[in-house]
């Protein structure tokens, strides 16, 4: 039967039923009148004997199995009408749900992209990262000779490849730009198992010393420099000035290692480095049937042999780590914290709406009673309430999905670059299902409890009571209180977490880096070394520029390289591990002036030193204190062993204060600054730092490009550079604060809703109190104190919970304890104020009650 004829059929049956029931009643009335009753009496008696017409019709429909769809449509239509009639409730509930669901969906999409999805390679489970470890078990990069021994001696790896990431200037028939490249050995692409999308990968002929320089491009980079769809095979590009021929393009998502945009063979350049120079990352591809645990045992054997054979490898070990852990491990803790936080938010949202529903269902007791009297069974009432809940959840879910889509877009664009794979988040089917399940689940969760409570309504009671007052038993009231206390508690936990992170972040941004960073801008560049003097002279001559310098390593952003050094007149220890070790960076004479670093003792190097054969150095305070505790560092001579082919002694001429060179949250280490001009290198891969107004950037750019048109010039202010180093902290703090703010708002709404409802319910009682002489103030205090008790209870529980949970944040906090009293007090104050505002409005409404009106409220 098609739907239309089925509908016609039903119409007929319903009409027949109504007709025959009406006829029945009429027959009965006539008969009763024949027996001598008045028409009115007869009608009443007949109806009583017949029973509830609606209910009987309902049961009759049930016989035909129509009721399911019928009732659903009815419930939905009715639900929409009811929700439409209380817009304040509906808007609040939908907003709360939409935000809760939106935040959760966005956050879980991010988690899925970052934490859950497998690495996008054919056999991700077989990929491992192999590290060298020092005596303390700290991971180190791997030295070239050790890598080659591992490669030749292991039995567990199908491929073992070395690689490292680098940044170079890319130029050609396009604007030069700075790109990230992977310098990879034989076995790298074989390990990854990803073929080129266009063209081919390196051949063995190209992977050897003196081979033809070739490069494989990343998909995005090739689109960027050659244009979409352009033929790029065989084209030439220059990397730091050296020409490479493009032979292949990788598929779009491939960007290993470290978001590389281009790959070149490692074997092109010789590797004369020793076992003490830790320069490479090592990627392994396990043989079939091998696990990383078995591979670890295999490598342990090799480590033991190498430790015996070479003094440099003494005490050093090898550690095999699945690549997945390597990629995801560092961000997992932060993500787990954020996920827990956002789950708390959703929980609070559900509790909140549950409370709103409960309060409403109780006020609606009269309506429900009426419906019960008209023939609605208890299951039907529960269904009705559940339908309303699910309607809200669906509306909230739909808007939440839209919010989530916006949210993922924001996350994708605002996330710091050092969170791997976050750029992969997208709204997909599983996320859609997730939202749907979440919204329906939330609907049932917040609908079920109030519905069951609400449907206990006793018909007689409800109708007799007249108004809704008093129908909520003490039990229901307690449940409502528990909901409010619960959400306040959860919100306080979140708020405390956010307060701790915010304070830590604030401290981090107010750390004295040791640099006067504002007013300094910087760019990486590549220049033939002979031109560096000219560059600095021309830049310094620009009218707005106060000082300019070159350095090989930009402080705060990068730590630079450390090495062992020798103090003149002090014999070298026999064991190389006993050597004195310090960080070694090169800078030009104006470096300290540019960064506003004072000279504590002695002098900075100057132009005279640049031309002198006598090498000079300045050292930082930590260095001076560590190696010359007698305060006699100046005039001493040192030389680093691993950097230059023929290391010379440098005379220490000055001492400078410590700088947070390794990051704002890291302590300074012993550092030595050599005069860059004295260390003649052929090509200068350096960073230019300039103290001067931003308006001079164009002029600086033209100076640089006039000297080398291949070098990319991308200015950044030093403040931006420093902010970039704490991007992850900022990201995490921002998200957690957002969640906490939302939780705060929710609990304020929660307490407001509960108290408003209480005041409405007690209108006549309050009226009587006022008639009997209670002042407005007394009523205000009465309501406020009821709210205050709940707030205080929730606050105490929340602070206790926060006290217990905050230790999970320990590793994210800088320079403070997880039990920081200031943060806890602040949270208590902020929360107290906001929550009491939520109490104040209903209380004020209560105090404005007109006793006359209140008593007529019935």
């Amino acid at each position: 039967m098609n739907p239309i004829s089925r509908w016609l059929e039903r119409r007929r049956v319903e009409r027949d039923l109504a007709d025959e029931m009406a006829a029945h009643l009429e027959e009965r009335i006539e008969q009763l009148m024949d027996e001598g009753l008045s028409q009115e009496e007869a009608r009443i008696r007949a109806q009583r004997q017949f029973g509830n017409v609606t209910s009987q019709k309902e049961k009759s429909r049930e016989a035909w199995g129509w009721n399911g769809m019928e009732r659903l449509t009815q419930d939905v239509r009715f639900g929409c009408r009811v929700l439409g009639k209380s817009p304040a409730f509906t808007v609040t509930a939908v907003t709360v749900l939409a935000l809760g669901i939106g935040m959760n969906t966005a956050m879980f999409s991010a988690a899925k992209a970052v934490l859950l999805s497998a690495l996008p390679y054919p056999e991700p489970d077989r990929l491992v990262e192999v590290w060298q470890t020092n005596k303390a078990g700290r991971f180190m990069d791997v030295s070239g000779p050790d890598f080659r021994d591992w490669r030749d001696q292991n039995r567990s790896m199908q491929y073992l490849a070395s690689y490292y990431g680098d940044q170079v200037g890319l130029s050609g028939d396009f604007a030069p730009r700075r790109i990230r490249i992977g310098v990879v050995s034989i076995g790298f692409f074989e390990s990854m198992g990803v073929p080129a999308a266009v063209g081919r990968l390196f051949s063995r002929e190209e992977q050897k010393l003196g081979g033809v320089p070739v490069a494989v491009l990343g998909y995005d980079l090739s689109q960027l420099i050659f244009g979409p769809g352009a033929q790029s095979m065989g084209k030439s590009v220059r990397l730091d000035g050296m020409a490479f021929t493009v032979i292949g393009i990788m598929p779009p998502a491939f960007d290993f290692p470290a978001r590389a945009q281009l790959w070149v063979p490692q074997e092109l350049i010789p590797d004369p480095s020793t076992r003490s120079a830790h320069n490479y990352h090592v990627l392994g591809h396990l043989k079939p049937g091998t696990s990383s645990r078995l591979a670890q045992e295999d490598m342990n054997v090799i480590a033991t042999q190498l430790a015996k054979a070479y003094i440099d490898d003494k005490d050093e070990g090898i550690k095999v780590v699945p690549l997945y852990d390597e990629v995801v491990g560092p961000v997992r803790p932060a993500f787990l914290i954020l996920l827990s936080a956002v789950t708390l938010v959703l929980l609070i949202a559900c509790v909140n709406i549950s409370g709103l529903h409960l309060a409403r269902a109780t006020v609606r007791a009269k309506e429900l009673g009426l419906r019960a009297a008209l023939g609605a069974g208890r299951p039907r009432l529960i269904r009705q309430l559940l339908t309303e809940a699910v309607l809200l959840a669906i509306a909230g879910g739909a808007i939440g999905l839209a919010l989530a889509m916006a949210g993922t877009a924001v996350l994708r664009h605002s996330a710091p670059a050092n969170i791997p794979r976050l750029e992969n988040i997208h709204v997909d089917i599983s996320m859609l299902c997730f939202t749907a399940v979440l919204s329906i689940g939330a609907g049932l969760l917040f609908g079920a409890l109030p519905a069951i409570a609400g449907s206990h309504t006793d018909v007689n009671e409800a109708l007799k009571q007249g108004s809704g007052k008093g129908t909520a038993g003490p039990q229901l009231k307690r449940w409502g209180n528990a909901l409010v206390v619960g959400q306040i508690g959860l919100a306080v936990v979140l708020l405390t977490g956010a307060a701790l992170l915010l304070k830590s972040y604030w401290k981090l941004t107010h750390v004295d880096s040791g640099l006067r960073s504002s007013g300094v801008f910087t760019t990486d560049l590549l220049l033939p070394a002979r031109l560096s003097t000219r560059l600095l002279k021309e830049v310094s001559a620009l009218p707005g520029v106060q000082a300019a310098a070159l350095t090989d390593v930009l402080p705060v952003r990068e730590g630079g390289a450390d090495g062992d050094f020798e103090i003149e007149g002090t014999p070298l220890p026999a064991d190389p591990h006993q050597d004195s070790n310090a960080y070694y960076r090169l800078a030009t004479s104006q470096y300290f002036r540019t960064f506003g670093i004072p000279i504590l003792k002695g002098r900075a190097f100057d132009e005279t030193d640049d031309r002198s054969p006598e090498q000079v150095a300045t050292v930082n305070q930590t260095f001076a204190a560590e190696f010359f505790p007698g305060g006699d560092a100046i005039g001493k001579r040192i030389r680093f062993l691993g950097f230059d082919a023929k290391p010379q002694f440098m005379t220490i001429v000055g001492i400078v204060p410590d700088v947070r060179a390794f990051g704002l949250n890291k302590p300074a280490k012993a550092e030595v600054f050599g005069d860059l001009m004295q260390h003649a290198v052929l090509s200068l891969d350096a960073t230019l730092v300039v103290r001067g107004p931003v308006s001079e950037q164009a002029a600086v750019r033209s100076v640089v490009t006039s000297l080398n048109r291949d070098t990319p010039v991308e200015f950044q202010s030093m403040d931006e550079v420093i902010a970039g180093t704490i991007a992850r902290e900022r990201f995490q703090t921002f998200l957690l604060s957002l969640f906490a703010a939302f939780a705060l708002l929710l609990s304020a709404i929660g307490i407001y809703g509960l108290l408003s409802y209480t005041v409405t319910r007690r209108t006549s009682e309050l009226g009587i109190r006022m008639t009997l002489g209670a002042g407005r103030r007394a009523v205000l205090v009465l309501v406020l104190s009821e709210g205050g008790r709940l707030v205080a209870t929730g606050l105490l529980l929340g602070l206790l919970g926060a006290f217990l949970l905050s230790r999970t944040l320990a590793s994210f906090l800088y320079g403070m304890k997880t039990t920081d009293p200031g943060s806890f007090v602040t949270v208590a104050l902020v929360f107290g104020v906001v929550a009491m505002l939520g109490c104040y409005f209903p209380a004020r409404r209560a105090s404005k009650i007109d006793p006359n009106v209140a008593l007529r409220y019935e």
């Binding site: 029945h24 009759s60 016989a63 035909w64």
Partner: protein, 109 residues
């Protein structure tokens, strides 16, 4: 019904009532009350859901006719399938009754 009937009993009573010929709803309720000498006070409305179930199962058919008071009413008639069903229900009912009687007998003695 006010004197609680066992589930399904009302259907059996209706079938039994219709055994003698077609009747409309009001007449059926009258008959059940009178025949039971008012022991079975059927809430009259509950007759109609029961009739719908019988219609659905094909044990009765209905057609519109006119009552003795010249009112347009629907009369119900037993089908052969309904007659068989009645037989089954009576048998089942008697077994049930016998069972109950056996349980109750010791009390009488």
């Amino acid at each position: 019904m006010t004197r609680a009937l066992l589930p399904g009993t009302l259907e059996m009573l209706i079938l039994q009532t219709l055994r003698h010929g077609a009747l409309h709803g009001y007449a059926i309720s009258q008959y059940i009350q009178q025949a039971s000498e008012d022991v079975l006070q059927v809430e009259e409305g509950s007759l109609y859901p029961a009739l719908q179930r019988l219609l659905r199962d094909g044990w009765v058919v209905a057609e519109w006719g006119t009552s003795s008071r010249k009112r347009r009413v629907r009369t119900y008639r037993l089908t052969p399938a309904g007659r068989k069903q009645l037989g089954r229900e009576i048998a089942g009912f008697e077994r049930l009754l016998a069972g109950i009687s056996r349980v109750m007998r010791p009390v009488e003695s």
